[in-house]
């Protein structure tokens, strides 16, 4: 396996049962040891390359997830870990469950399982590195063409002119939810 870079991971529990979360942590530990690929679990969204989400997201946690996604610099990859994060899993019928991470933010990799196995997670991280490379290439091209904006102090890159226009528009009207949680995230 060719590892072109050492991605850092930001892990957030979006209303999961904890099973996937301890497997995420277990895969960082000596037995499975994703750290041999240079993968480090960071608590700071601005340091992270991969957003690792577990759980099916409920109303209260959705703005937090959106905020974390927004705070991560490009290029970034989102991994939905466990069947709950993929489509809701066993809790799909619950009243307070939105059913999947991809209802809120774009997901690049789905890793199913209940609970997700560390081997599957490592495979997912491997794929995430490939996607990161791909995105980085696109970013380079976009920078040459000049479709870049500086957004909340970070560089945001859009691969096409239409994409760029859409982003500028959506940034002009931030949703209410993201404003509420902005203070909480910054204080950490």
């Amino acid at each position: 396996m060719k590892v072109s870079q050492s991605p850092w991971i930001l892990h957030y529990d979006g209303s999961s049962c904890n099973g996937c979360d301890i497997e995420v942590l277990a895969s960082m530990m000596p037995h499975f040891d994703v750290e041999r690929f240079g993968v480090i679990n960071t608590g700071n969204p601005k340091h992270a390359d991969i957003l690792l989400l577990t759980g099916s997201i409920n109303a209260q946690t959705a703005p937090v997830v959106r905020q974390l996604y927004k705070q991560m610099p490009d290029p970034k990859v989102v991994m939905a870990c466990g069947i709950c994060a993929c489509d809701g899993g066993i809790f799909k019928d619950c009243y307070n469950v939105m059913g999947g991470v991809d209802k809120f933010i774009p997901v690049d990799i789905y890793v199913p399982g209940c609970a997700v196995r560390p081997e599957a997670l490592i495979e997912g991280v491997k794929k995430a590195i490939a996607i990161l490379d791909e995105k980085k290439e696109k970013m380079k091209i976009a920078m040459k063409q000049g479709y870049c904006t500086v957004d909340y102090g970070r560089l945001a890159v859009h691969t096409t002119a239409e994409d760029y226009d859409a982003q500028v528009q959506s940034d002009a009207e931030p949703t209410e939810e993201t404003e509420e949680t902005a203070g909480e995230e910054k204080a950490q």
Binding site: Y12, S15, N18, I22, P30, G43, D93, Y95, N96, E184
Partner: protein
Amino acid sequence: MAAKSVIPFGPQHPVLPEPIHLDLVMEDEHVVEAIPSIGFVHRGLEKLVEKKDFQEMVYVAERICGICSLGHGLGYCDAVEHLMDLEIPERAKFLRVIWSEMSRIHSHLLWLGLLADAFGFESLHMQAWRIREQVLDMFEESTGGRVIFSVMKIGGQRRDVPQDMLKSFLERFERMEEEVKVIARTFMDDAAVQSRLKGIGVLSADQAEALGCTGPFLRASGVARDIRSTGYSAYGDVHVEPITGTVGDSYARCDVRIREIFQSFEIIREAVGKIPEGPVEVPVKGFPSGEYMTRIEQPRGEALYYVKANGKKFIERMRVRTPTFANLPGLVEMLKGCELADVPILILTIDPCISCTER
């Protein structure tokens, strides 16, 4: 007197594997008040009883929490079995005890690792989790799952564990015990660790009892209360002595949990010695009716399961009261007057399990 300021803590925080939010009202470096807000993991699974029948609910109950998954399955099955007047075979009862104690070992080792991480001892964190992996391997061999087992069912156990596998577990536990002893020495005797834990977050026995705390958190304050001594499943046939501390600080909580790991090794040894041959399940006929409340001792403390059924396929109401929920008032009390730098450690010493709490 300095002005008060509010520092939000969480829901996403490096020390927390799960989301909880605390508003810390600060006066300089000291916390005056802590206001918790929960609901980040609320799924509303108790209402699923309307959509899943009483047998399918076992899977839902096991997914209340991924760490104490086995205990939740046990509690729910125990309650429904009482409603249906099912007497499960002795072998199944002993298997439940063995697996419960294995859960306790893995949960406490997980907690020790997280605590070590919170006070900044990374290699100790890694060691604790490395030892824990051996329990998960044994779980995988005997149940087929690493964290979610789905091995409980109404009327017994989904699969039996061969006798020679149980014997091989004992040998492996013996090796594990030696390894735990090594890390336990560091937790208990290291001067740097002691300086982070001793005298931090003291909760007296009266306070802990008045606030309704449970589990190792309560026992560290000197109250000997352990639901295992009521003898549910096969706990009546093995020797269980509640392990208590005296001081009620973070060090005592760590000490109680470490001693509980060794106690669990003892209980497993005793249970494997006494386990009878025979079937592990009884056939289930009909539907449950009536109401029943059962209490079991989870790694984090007392958990309560209430089931109300009316003779139909779908039970009417299920209610779970989990140990972390009972321990939160104790945490809020403990945080008053502590320093900001100690907040992560204090949150960890109750062994919070937010998924259980919010269901």
